[in-house]
């Protein structure tokens, strides 16, 4: 199978998958629908993760920060709606420091549209700022990964310590209304689910388009040889900053949908461990494929939900095994595995000649010798 054919096949499979997702309300219970919506919220984050890691070669171990910025922006509005003009319960109960009126930076979140805007703006800006500071100094690879891990640790420690303003370790929860809609009613939950799938579809299409554009080609060039890209006259820094900001945007959007489905966001959802788990599920699905990354993430969230509740003692061990497996023998994930399988299954003399994804030592010399000057001189 040629690369183009397998790409086209992947595209068709993904579109069929989206149709299946859109029709899920007709065959899933309301509870499972909400659960799937939660997993798909992480899928939106995975689209951006594939762009930065699979395409550009930037591993971030701190995507939880951007997920949290989007999620908390959404949750702050929902908490204020619930409080209905009064001070939110956890603020009124806090005593270090004791406050009697809403902090100034909470006040604009009374407006739903401000909150929606912040869901998009905050994570994008934060990612862009970090990207500028770090990529500008050509800090990349392992250094960047470790800095993002320090970032997510500092971020969650800060949230936990600011009990009065963030409800600390407990996070923000107990909200039921958005724009006058009752989030607990089945019809609203269905609508919310459809909106999540639509957002995932938009993110997925945008990423596919980006990946095929000139911009996408440069991302791959940066991944495969940052210095060579530089020598060709391109400055990699703005490309890296922009793609990192896009990944931040998708992460924040995912975080906002996560809050609406899960009804809670807390530091435990976004800390050091959840953040690095995001990376491993993307790699498990196949980071170089956007669709594969989303599938890996959704599958991973499903397994985490299912197995960790049934076998809490074994789950960390299994997770550790997945990390080791992905890191050592499956760096291209399930997508890579399927591609290799497809190549093996379709291997025949005729397909070998047209294939460009397999190396065939006995085909190349033949085509090469046909064009050599010595061959020409014999004629």
């Amino acid at each position: 199978m040629s690369k183009n054919a397998s790409n086209a096949l992947g595209f068709v499979i993904a579109l069929l998958g989206f149709i299946g997702l859109f029709m899920a309300p007709s065959y899933l219970s309301s509870y499972n629908l909400s659960l799937l919506g939660r997993f798909l919220s992480f899928g939106i984050l995975a689209v951006g993760f594939s762009l930065i890691w699979g395409y550009t070669g930037i591993l971030s171990l701190g995507q939880g920060v951007f997920f949290a910025l989007g999620g908390y922006a959404m949750a702050m509005h929902l908490v204020l709606v619930q409080a209905d003009g009064a001070l939110p319960g956890f603020m009124a109960r806090s005593f270090r420091p004791r406050i009697t009126e809403l902090p100034w930076w909470w006040q604009p979140f009374e407006s739903a549209w401000f909150a929606f805007a912040m869901v998009l703006i905050l994570p994008t800006l934060a990612a862009a700022l970090l990207g500028i500071l770090v990529f500008w100094r050509r800090i990349s690879g392992v250094y960047f990964a470790l800095i993002t891990q320090a970032l997510v640790l500092a971020f969650t420690t800060l949230i936990v310590s600011q009990q009065t303003y963030t409800n600390g370790f407990n996070g923000l929860s107990n909200f039921t209304t958005l724009l006058g809609f009752d989030l607990t009613s089945n019809s609203v939950r269905r609508g919310l689910y459809i909106a999540t799938v639509a957002a995932l579809l938009v993110a997925w299409l945008a990423a596919q388009w980006l990946a095929r554009s000139h911009f996408g080609k440069l991302l791959v060039a940066i991944r495969d040889g940052e210095n060579r890209t530089r020598f060709l006259g391109y400055n990699p820094t703005p490309y890296k900053v922009v793609v990192f900001a896009i990944a931040g945007l998708f992460a924040g959007l995912g975080g906002a949908f996560f809050v609406l489905h899960a009804g809670i966001i807390s530091p435990a959802d976004v800390g050091v461990k959840p953040s690095i788990e995001m990376a491993v599920w993307v790699a498990f699905g196949g980071r170089e494929s956007i669709t594969g990354s989303v599938l890996g993430m959704v599958l991973g969230r499903f397994l985490a939900e299912d197995i960790s509740s049934r076998f809490p003692a074994i789950w960390p061990m299994l997770l550790g095994a997945v990390f080791i497996l992905v890191g050592t023998v499956l760096p291209r994930g399930l997508t890579g595995l399927f591609e290799r399988l497809a190549v093996l299954l379709t291997r025949s003399p005729s397909s070998l000649a047209s294939s460009d994804s397999v190396q065939e030592p006995f085909v190349t010399p033949v085509t090469a010798s046909a064009n050599t000057p010595s061959e020409v001189s014999h004629d």
């Binding site: 890691w53 070669g57 591993l59 171990l61 500071l133 770090v134 500008w136 100094r137 050509r138 800090i139 690879g141 392992v142 250094y143 990964a145 470790l146 800095i147 891990q149 320090a150 970032l151 640790l153 500092a154 420690t157 800060l158 936990v160 310590s161 600011q162 210095n227 050091v272 690095i276 990376a279 491993v280 790699a283 003692a313 960390p316 061990m317 997770l319 550790g320 095994a321 997945v322 990390f323 080791i324 497996l325 992905v326 890191g327 050592t328 760096p331």
Partner: protein, 303 residues
Amino acid sequence: MLTDPVFVVNQVFNGLSLASILLLAAIGLALSFGLMRVINMAHGEMLMLGGVTAYVVQSSPVSQDISLWLALPAAFITTALLGALLEITIIRWLYGRPLDTLLATWGVSLLLQQAVVLWQPFGVSFVAPGWLSGAVSIDGGALSGVTLPYVRLFVIAVSGLVITALLLLLRYTRLGLYVRAVNQDRAIAASLGVNTRVIDVSVFALGTGIAGLAGAALATISPITGVIGSSYIVNAFLVVIVGGVGSIWGAVLAALSLGFFTSFFESFYSVSYARVIILVLVILFLQFRPRGFVVTRSRALES
């Protein structure tokens, strides 16, 4: 507060104590990152297992006063062997793929953490021998009120001795010569007959062994839980980044700076603000010295 000499001396001492643990935790990371360009995310668990080894030694029927002297070498040997095992089974397949190494070794760290958590859910503790209980207290004079616990002085001394021994080893032994050679130019060293595989495994094992030693020393100060490694490891990574690739002096300087800054910010503000300020300072520092304190100069394009 900064004009109060007692406060300043206490904070400098706290900073030094923190820096000495950070340094022991980070030096192995710095050495193997310099040599092999991989970061071992399970390094914090080597610290934890060192502490666990100390506990196991103390649980055996040996006199409490000498248990510490047995625990330190036992922790070093156990974790060095584990490190060698980790290098041979997993890490050597990952050279040239540093980001995959992060994930794979994180998996190892999850396995080790969970194994110890299942075995000892509430952690283990090591009782420091009698001669280590107590403190240097200063009464009278401008420094009246300064207390320096013996256990913390002991950890600082261990750290100083280990670093001195390491510097001597790298400077005056054949192994050290080979390590420096591989560090400078792996291909040339190999072509001159240095067995780089042996050097890689030895340095990796030495690094994890020192982390284990740090864990045993740490056990005299605080209880060892399955997840204690994670509370030191992120700062240890920052030490490697700030110190510069593969430099011992860089790591010493970075550990001291991070230790002192952390200790002072924690006393002025809080633990959480200290983390944020430290991270901001590290990112700002990298604006001026993106390759850390000590830069290894090289003509190679890709480092």
